[in-house]
Assembly symmetry: D2
Homo-oligomer: 310 residues x 4
Amino acid sequence: MERIDKAKVAFLQEVVEREREYRHESEMASFGESGEEDQELVGIALMGAEGDVAQAGSAEQRFPLESVSKALTLALALEDVGAEALFARVGMEPSGDPYHSIATLEEGEMGIPSNPMINAGAIVTTAMIRGRDGKDRFERLRDFFRRLSANPELDYNRAMFEAEDQDLNRALFYYMRSHDVLVGSEEDLLVPYLKQTSIEMNCRELSRIAAVLANRGCDPVSGERLIGEETVRIVLTLMFTTGMYDQSGRYAVEVGMPSKSGVSGAILAVAPGRLGCGVIGPALNEHGNSVAGLRLLEALSKRWRLGVFA
Amino acid sequence: MERIDKAKVAFLQEVVEREREYRHESEMASFGESGEEDQELVGIALMGAEGDVAQAGSAEQRFPLESVSKALTLALALEDVGAEALFARVGMEPSGDPYHSIATLEEGEMGIPSNPMINAGAIVTTAMIRGRDGKDRFERLRDFFRRLSANPELDYNRAMFEAEDQDLNRALFYYMRSHDVLVGSEEDLLVPYLKQTSIEMNCRELSRIAAVLANRGCDPVSGERLIGEETVRIVLTLMFTTGMYDQSGRYAVEVGMPSKSGVSGAILAVAPGRLGCGVIGPALNEHGNSVAGLRLLEALSKRWRLGVFA
Amino acid sequence: MERIDKAKVAFLQEVVEREREYRHESEMASFGESGEEDQELVGIALMGAEGDVAQAGSAEQRFPLESVSKALTLALALEDVGAEALFARVGMEPSGDPYHSIATLEEGEMGIPSNPMINAGAIVTTAMIRGRDGKDRFERLRDFFRRLSANPELDYNRAMFEAEDQDLNRALFYYMRSHDVLVGSEEDLLVPYLKQTSIEMNCRELSRIAAVLANRGCDPVSGERLIGEETVRIVLTLMFTTGMYDQSGRYAVEVGMPSKSGVSGAILAVAPGRLGCGVIGPALNEHGNSVAGLRLLEALSKRWRLGVFA
Amino acid sequence: MERIDKAKVAFLQEVVEREREYRHESEMASFGESGEEDQELVGIALMGAEGDVAQAGSAEQRFPLESVSKALTLALALEDVGAEALFARVGMEPSGDPYHSIATLEEGEMGIPSNPMINAGAIVTTAMIRGRDGKDRFERLRDFFRRLSANPELDYNRAMFEAEDQDLNRALFYYMRSHDVLVGSEEDLLVPYLKQTSIEMNCRELSRIAAVLANRGCDPVSGERLIGEETVRIVLTLMFTTGMYDQSGRYAVEVGMPSKSGVSGAILAVAPGRLGCGVIGPALNEHGNSVAGLRLLEALSKRWRLGVFA
C-alpha cells in the first residue's frame, strides 16, 4: 500500500475545488434522475498504507450506499457459501443492459441474473447470505459492513427504506422465484436486500472499505484479515467488468480502477496494492453514475496512474 | 346465424372420432407443458341460430378457462370504461413474444403491455373493471360470465386457484405498478385476474358464449343484448390478431376464425354471423395451444368455409 | 361486390375536402420521414361491382408502390410455388418490430423472417418467384402487376430505383443468405425486389387491384380469374394481421379492412365482397403509414361499415 | 518482465501432457463448431524477459488468427487515428451477445457496434486504419503484424480467405454503411478485415506479440517501441472486459489475464509486466473459445498467479 503524502492531499483539494467551480457554472438541472439531494455536494477521501487518510470537500457527509453495497454483499455471500454455490444462481457476464432491467432474466438461463452487480443479481446474492431469517441475514450483513468501515454504529436509514417504491425489485424477486432461482419469502430474502442498500456511510468510511479491498482483504491499520484473499480477487474482477452499470466498459478504459457506483452518487474505487477511495457527488449522468465522481476519479487515475493497466 | 343441421352434427362426430384414433396412435408424452389432465380428452360443441346445439366427445367435461377468459374480461372492461380509457393503458399490437413474457414490458412505452391477450395485458384489463375492491370486481366478472354462458352456477375452482404458482403474474403486476400503469393492491387488482382464469366451464357453455359473439352480442336464443356491438367488434378483432398466443398469425391463415385459447386446452372460436364453437383437448403444442383443438377447428373451417376471408 | 353509387361519390369528395383543409391548418413539417414529395397531395379511388369507379383528389397522380407491392408479390409467389414451399422460408407471425428490422432475424429460427410484409420477408418472397434470372423474375412480376391494374404500360421508376440507398436491404439479403434462407446473387434475387418497390401507379389502378382481391381474385369488369381463390384468402389474412407495419393491430381495430401501406404514402385497402380502394397521401406518421390515408380510410370504414368485423 | 525458468518449462510440459491424456479420454465429437482441424492438437508458448521462450506441444503449428487479430487491429487503428476518433464509431461496452450478432446494432446508437472485439466492431476498426485503398490498408496491417511477431514472412492464407462464407460479415458491413458508420466499398473496407482474420501464425509468434503487450509496447528482445503505451493500456483493458466472446466475464474471474480468442482455437494471453502467452487448441466450446486453451491458461494462472487481481 502507498503512503498518502502531502502532494496527494494537495491534489485532492485542487480537484475538488475545480469540480465545485465547474458545478457552479453548469446547468445542474440537466442531470438525470437524482432527487432533492444537494446537487452541489462533492466529497472524496483516500486511505493508503497504515490507514493514512486524505480527504477533501464534504467527506463527512453521510449518504445511503445504494448499489455500492452490492460489492460488499457479494463479498459476504462468497465467504458464506463459496464461489461455486453462488455462481450456480447468478452469472458473471456483463449484460449490456441497465441495472434494473428485467428483460435480461428472460434470456439465456431463465431467471438467472447476468451478474451480481445488477439488482436482480444482488437480490440473489443477498438471499444466499447465511441467516435464520431476513432479520438475521440483514444483521450479519450490517455487522460485516461495520467491521469493514470500522464504524460500529453504522445502520440503515429507516425513513428512506420505508419511503422507497420497491415494486420494481418486487417484480425481479417474484420473477426469479417463479423460476426457482429463489426459495423463500419477501420478508426473508428481499427485505434484507432493500435494507442494506439504505445503509449510510461517509466518504471516509467508504475509503477504508476500499483500502481493505486494495490490501487483499486485510485492515490497512491493524493488518487483521477481514475478507478472504480469493473473495477479494473475485469481487475486484467483477467490479472491474460490471461495477459501473452500463458504462463499465468505458470507465475501465478511462479510469481503470475496480469500482462500484450507486444512485446516491457514491463510488467505491480500489487501486489494488496501493490505496482505497470513496467519493460522493449526487448529480448523476444517464447511466446512473455520479458526474462529479467520474471526473474526480479520472483526474486522480491519470495523475497517479491508478488504473490497473496504466 | 346458421342452423346446425344433421350434416354438421355428423361431421362433428366424425372429426372427434378421427382425432381419438389419431391420439391413440401418437406419442402423447411428446406434447408440451400440460400436467396430469386426461390427455386423451377431446370435446367440441357448436351453437348456431336460435340456440341450435351440436356436440361430440366430452363436451360436458368441465375445465378452467385459463387464458380464454381474457377475451371475456376484455369485453366487460370495454363496456365498463370504454375503448379510449382502456387502450391508454394497454396496446393493440401483436407482440411476437410468448404470453407470459415480461421483457416486452421494457420496450416501447415502459410498462404498457402490447395487447389484452397476453398475461400482463389481461391483468391491466381486469384491473380496469369497475368494482369497490377485488371481491366486487371478481363478482361482477363472474356474473358477466354467468349471463353469457346462461349458467348461473358458474364459479371458479378454489383448489386450483389456491394451488397455482402465481409468482410470474406477481412479477408482471409489480413491474407494471412500478411504472404506474396499475395503482392498487394485489388483493384488489391481481386476485380477481387470477380467480377468473380458474372459472370452470364446459364446451357447451363455451359455444354459447362464442355464439353471443357471433351474433353481434345478442343471446342467440332470447335475442337479448348481452354485449355492446362496438365491444364485440373490438374483441373479435383482437382475438383474430392476437388470440392464439405467438401462433396467432399462422392460425389466422389456417383456420381464420377469431379465437382465444387457454393452457387448459380450451379454445373459444367464432364464425361471425354464423355460429359459435367451444373445444377442449388438454394436450398442448409448444405455443400453448391445444393440439386437438387446432386440428378440429381447421377441419371444420375447411369443410364449412368458416374463416373470415374464406 | 357493391355498386359505387352517388352517395359514395359525394362522401369521397367530402372527406378529401375535409382532409385538405385539415392539412392547410396543420404543421406538415412535423410529419416523419417523407422526402420532398408534395406533402399536401391527397387522392383516393374506389372500385366496386362491374368496375364502377369513384375518385377524388389527386387520384391520377403516379407514385411508387414501395411496400404496397409486398402484398402483390406475395400473391404471385404463392401462385408460383404454393403456400407450403413459401412458408418454409418465411413466417406468418406479426413481429412487433419495425419493417426494416434486422434484429428479428436473429430470433427464433435463424434467418427466417417473421412474415412476408416486412422487408426481409418480401425479399424472400420475391426470390421465390419463378424466373431464369433477376431480369426474368422482375418481368414476370411486372406482367402480373400490369394484368392486375389493367395498365399494360406500368413500369418501375428507373431514376428512383438507381438513386435509393439499398444498404439496409443488402444487409438483410446477406444475413439471410448466410443462413441459407436464400441461395443466389444480389442481381438475381435482390434486384427484382428493389425494382418492384419502384413500380409506379395511381390510385385508380390501385383501387382496381384492391377490387380484384375483394372479388376473390377475379377481374371486377371482365370476371376473368387473375389470382387463385386460396391465394387471395392467404394474402388478405396477412394484410389484415401484418399489413400496416407495427400499427397493424390498431389499424385492424380502427379501420378493419385488410390493407397494405407503403412509405410513398400509398395504401391498398380491401373490403372483401364489396369494394377495393386505393389512397395516396405522402405525409407519414412515425410508423411509416400515410396520415391522410389512415384518416380517409377510417372515415369510409365508419360510414359504410367496411371493417371485416363491423 | 519475468524470466522463463526451468520450473516454468517443466510445468508447461506437464499441463500439455495432462491435456492430451484428457483429450484421448473425452468425447471430442461433443465439442462445438470446429471443422475438420485436428481436434487433438494442443500447443503453447511463453515469452518473458529478454525474449526467453518456453514451448510445449504443437507450438510450431500454423493456424489462422481469426478473432485474435481484432486486438492487434485495434492497436494499429488507435495508433493511426487516436482513441477519440475511433470511439466515435465503435463503443467500449461488453454487449452480452455473441460476437457475430447483428441485433445489437439496432440498439442504442443505431449502427454503432458495442465494442471492437465483436465482428461489427472489428470491421469498423479495420476500416479506420489509414490506407489509400483496401490493398494498402491490408498491407499496413500485415506489416504491423510482421513487426510484432518478428516474422517478415507472415501472410494470410489465400485459400482459406477465398473459401470462407462472408455473407454474415457482408450483412454487418452493409447494415453499418446504411447508418453511415462506414463510408466506402466492400473492397476498400471489408476485404482488409477478412484478409487479416486469415493471417497465419504459430504459438511462438503469438507469445511474442503477447510479450510486446506485456512489456508496455516494447519488443522484449530489442527493447524497441512497437506500440504506444496509451494504446497498449486501452487494448489490454478491452481484452480484459470483452476479449473472450460472451464468456469474458467468467474468464476474467477464472483466469484473469487480458486475452483474445479466435475460432481457430487460438488465444493470445497477457500477464502485464510479466510474460506473454500464445495457445492453440482447435476444439471449441459453445462460446467459441478453445476448450484446451481455457484449461491450460487457468492452470498457468493459478500456479503462477498470473491474473490481474491475483
